[in-house]
Structures are given as C-alpha cells and as structure tokens.
Assembly symmetry: C2
Homo-oligomer: 149 residues x 2
C-alpha cells in the first residue's frame, strides 16, 4: 500500500512515501533510515513538532529548494501534499513510514492526534526566503493547472 511512489508519479520530483527498515524483537522496536541510500539530500536541520491542538493545521507552505522528510514517531497526523497538478493525503502513523517532500511541494499537516510527535528532517538550514506561503505564487512556480499566462 505504502510505496516509494504512492503519492507521486515521478520519484524524486513529487512527494512519496518511504518504508523504513523496521526490526522488532524482545528489546522493542528499532527503525533505521540511511539517508544516502534512501533520500537524495543531506540533513542539516531537524524539527520536532508536538502538542498541536485539535484542528490546528501546520505547514501550509512550500519550499523553493529545501527537501523535507517527515516521520510521525508517535501518534498520527494527516499530511496533504500538492505538486500543483495533483493533491493527495496520506496518514503518517508509525515510525517506519516516512514522507519525502521534495522542493516545490505544497504541504499541510493536520489532524494531529493528542500524542502525535512529528519529526522533520530538512536539507537546508533556516532561510525565510526559501518559504512560499502564497498558493498562487506556488502555482506560478510549478506551472500548475490554474496558472494563467
């Protein structure tokens, strides 16, 4: 069900789910992600998001150059991804399920469960100019369906 192309048609260009290796034994659960093998970026920043009130969405923007990799390591959250042509929603509900959002992916995370903890690994350090907060501007950038020329 979850595959490297579930939410995108072209690997590396649109958002896609990544199944991470998972080992369960009598010592607990161990999930391992190796970035050189599984993700085409170096990690320079990590966010941890928790305690999000019911009904509160986060995200609601795109990045011009920054890749992001989302893993909900506790609880669950819904993630909407939109490449300007297609919009999809995935549920992130386990540490072994990652969502790679390449640059120019419009994304919103919502329906955080009370106990949700979302870890986001990003390819770039913070740069306010890398954020696109206006959806019309985003569509212009990606040449999306509602763009007028």
């Amino acid at each position: 069900m979850a595959s490297s192309n579930e939410t995108g048609t072209t690997a590396g260009q649109t958002a896609h789910l990544v199944e991470l290796a998972q080992h369960v034994d009598d010592k607990g659960l161990l999930v391992v992600a190796e970035f050189e093998k599984q993700l085409p970026f170096e990690v320079r920043r990590m966010f941890v998001i928790a305690g999000v009130p019911e009904g509160e969405p986060r995200g609601i923007h795109a990045h011009r150059e920054c890749h992001q990799f989302l893993v909900c390591v506790n609880g669950s959250v819904r993630a909407m991804v939109d490449d300007g042509h297609r919009r999809e929603v995935v549920v992130l509900d386990r540490p072994s399920l990652g969502l790679h959002m390449p640059p120019l992916t419009w994304g919103t995370q919502y329906d955080y469960s009370d106990d949700a903890v979302l870890v986001v690994l990003a390819s770039h350090t913070y740069d306010g100019a890398d954020y696109v907060h206006d959806y019309a501007e985003f569509l212009d950038l990606v040449g999306g369906p509602t763009t007028t020329v």
Copy 2:
C-alpha cells in the same frame, strides 16, 4: 542545569547535552536543531527506538568513528555515558534536550518509560566493524583508568 558541557569536560571530545531551540505557541511545540551550527557531523542515519520493555537496556557499546545525537521526543529515558575516565547519567525527557555522544563514548540507555520514543541521528551509515561491544577493549582504545600496559 543542562548545558553544552554538563556531561563532559571538553566540548567535542566527551558526551554533552545540547539545548535545542524551542518555540511554544497556540499551534503547539516546535523544536529546531540546526546541525552545522550545533553538531560537528553530518547526519547519514536515523534510528527510532520505541516500545522498549521495562528494565530492558539498549546500547551497551561504543563506536570507533560514529557520532550519535540522541533526543527523547516522547516519554523519558536515562542515558549513561562513559568516556573511559568518567561515567555519568543524564535523563532525556523532552524534545528540546539532545545528547551528543562523540566517537569512543561508551553508552547505555535504560529506564525507558512506556511511552518513550528515542530518536538517534548518526554520522555514519551502518558498519558492524565500527561497534565496540567489549568494555575492556573500549578502555584499551581510550586509555581508560583500568587499562593495564
């Protein structure tokens, strides 16, 4: 109390706690770590550890070259760090508190709370030869106090 040198005398050589930037507002909690600024390594691997049974320790080894950065993003865990000369225990109990374990740090994590989720970012991909599982061998490597010549 928690500082960049709490568990070590020489930054960059022994394990130390790192306070991460934390923003709390009506949308929840956001913790941000920027690796180039705060940690002297690139992240090539991530572990997530959860569901560890009561009383079960994990770790109990050192790495020859691999740096690790531990953040307990949910619940709590105790981390013992030992550089061969000094042994200390810290409690990791919030997303904004990281523990940097440089190479040649002997470490064990234990007393996981039922809901503990430990995220570990590592500088190297998996290499079994990088692990030191024998404490006497570790002391030989670091020239620790019980080494005999």
